[in-house]
């Protein structure tokens, strides 16, 4: 099951600007240095404490599941692994896990962000996925 096309909206525009240049942007509090989910919004419209900051891209798998589907062109069965990853900066992220063994134990697997085009058209955004950094867990 491939990534399906997604387009930006005003709330996600800065994030997708980042993915197009290979950056995974998080929100960060200037006052404390705390990293937040990229979808976090300021508590007040004029708040300037939140800034965008690039994540290092490293993470570990918190949980995972395998989706069953079919290839749209060939009708061949396809298994897609999705998961929750804990970014090294702290926030969690929900993402496809690519190049992993769908029958493997992915507990605490170290992964690294990569970026894939979600579709063929110019307005189809680039989305983050995660790949294992440990060769033993690769498919």
């Amino acid at each position: 099951m491939a990534i399906s096309p997604v387009a930006r909206d005003s709330a996600s525009a800065d994030f997708f600007d980042g993915t197009r240049r290979g950056a995974f942007l998080l929100r960060r509090r200037r006052s404390t240095g705390e990293y937040l989910d990229p979808a976090a919004v300021p508590a007040q419209s004029d708040e300037v404490d939140l800034e965008y900051a690039p994540a290092g891209g490293g993470a570990r798998v918190v949980s995972w599941s395998t989706l069953r589907g079919r290839n749209g062109d060939t009708e061949e069965p396809v298994r897609t692994v999705v998961g929750i990853v804990e970014l090294d900066e702290g926030p969690w992220w929900w993402s496809q896990l690519v190049d992993v063994d769908p029958d493997g134990d992915l507990t605490d697997l170290r992964v690294q962000v990569d970026f894939l085009a979600s579709g063929p058209d110019p307005h189809h955004e680039v989305v983050p996925v995660f790949r294992p950094t440990e060769p033993d867990h690769r498919r």
């Binding site: 990534i3 909206d9 996600s12 989910d37 949980s63 599941s65 395998t66 069953r68």
Partner: protein, 395 residues
């Protein structure tokens, strides 16, 4: 928090009417028509005229096709309370809670609470009915594009986490499905009544690993309504009143954010004890348990959070012979639940709770039914409601 016993007896809220339409793959009526019929049946069940209703709480399902115009469809004039509520699977319990507060305060006398939905269409699979149809834009679009297009995936991730943390197995989840199917075999309203085994559970196809098909709830068209009034009015009605003894809600607020409790602890851990305190009963006093069971795993987690067993031990608990199923020590989801009975969101456990509390469940009736515990769960373990209802076994 006040206890319901602090109120004068005549002011305490009770459920006096229950209306269920045809449910399942029933095509033709719209969701709003199902809702209207459910309210008519609930009023008739209570021995009330529609004109006796002065409050209406409306809850729509995934199609969001029931709204405030239901008042007009039913010809209800001069209502003193009218609201549409949405807390997903916790809504049914929440509606009864708000209705109870409204009648106990004297704001209204008689409130109808109704849920209806009609997501199934001829030729459409149950799974397709609940797959996201949102436009693939922004944050929701990014999640959908990445494979998170419905509740199956999120609950599968939660269940996997419980398995990793506590060693819970698929076979233990299967024990819940098998027990509930055995109860469904005695429920004429249940959509699936053929007995199943653990082997059947394991052999059923994977929907989203680790969930097999038999871990997942049904999808149904239909409607359910209940009527809430004060105990003094309830005493003269056609059905045995079901007192609303206690209630609680808990909504953790971590949706799509880091949540170290994800899959391990839900809002039930706060909502359940609050409801029991309000009812002035302990978990050991509960006779019948009707839990929201969108998945087998949801039942397991809620049992733990309510305190029927220690955290992390529910897999062993539910698979111990003699605990679940007809004749077991824990009468749980006695109508088959959403897994085998019918899927009316939180109205599934609530309707069976009312039937059991009244002592009207026929061959599946639980002998002792003085205290009935009901859960509602919505979102991806994001919203939770609990009700404690009274029964009348007199034992």
């Amino acid at each position: 928090m006040a206890k319901t016993g602090d109120l004068p007896a005549h002011r305490r809220a009770a459920i006096v009417g229950l209306g269920l339409t045809e449910m399942g793959r029933v095509y033709g009526p719209t969701a709003q028509q199902f809702a209207a019929e459910a309210v008519r049946r609930a009023a008739a069940d209570a021995g009330l005229e529609l004109s006796d209703i002065d409050g209406l709480l409306v809850s729509a399902g995934v199609t969001n096709a029931v709204n405030l115009s239901l008042q007009v469809d039913l010809g209800l004039r001069d209502l003193r309370m009218l609201t549409q509520l949405q807390a997903f699977g916790s809504t049914a319990g929440a509606m009864v809670q708000y209705a109870a507060m409204a009648v106990e305060s004297g704001m209204v006398d008689t409130v109808a609470c109704v849920f209806a939905d009609a997501p199934l269409r001829p030729g459409l699979t149950s799974g397709a009915a609940y797959t996201s149809r949102a436009a693939p834009r922004g944050w929701p679009g990014l999640r959908e594009a990445s494979g998170f297009d419905g509740p199956n995936t999120m609950y599968a991730l939660a269940a996997r986490r419980h398995m990793l943390a506590f060693g819970t197995t698929s076979e233990q989840l299967g024990a819940i499905a098998v027990a509930q199917r055995a109860w469904a075999g005695m429920n004429p309203l249940a959509q699936l009544r053929e007995p199943i085994t653990i082997a059947d559970h394991q052999a059923s196809r994977f929907v989203v690993e680790p969930f097999h098909l038999l871990d997942c709830c049904l999808v149904s068209n239909g409607g359910v309504a209940v009527i809430v009034t004060t105990s003094d009015r309830a005493a003269s009605r056609a059905q045995p009143p079901v007192p609303v003894l206690g209630w609680g809600q808990a909504h953790p607020g971590n949706r799509w954010r880091r949540n170290d409790d994800f899959g391990l602890v839900s809002g039930a851990a706060r909502s359940g004890p609050a409801a029991l305190r309000m009812a002035d009963v302990a978990i050991g006093d509960v006779d019948v348990v009707e839990l929201y069971d969108c998945y087998t795993y949801t039942v397991l987690l809620t049992l733990e959070d309510y305190g029927f067993c220690e955290k992390g031990e529910c897999g062993a608990f539910v698979s111990t012979p003699g605990v679940l199923g007809p004749g077991g020590s824990l009468p749980l989801n006695t109508g088959g639940g959403q897994l085998s009975g019918y899927y009316m969101w939180g109205m599934t456990p609530l309707s069976e709770a009312v039937i059991q509390a009244r002592g009207q469940a026929g061959e599946r009736q639980v002998e002792r039914h003085d205290v009935v515990l009901v859960s509602g769960n919505g979102g991806f373990l994001d919203y939770h409601s609990t009700l404690v209802l009274g029964g009348g076994s007199g034992t």
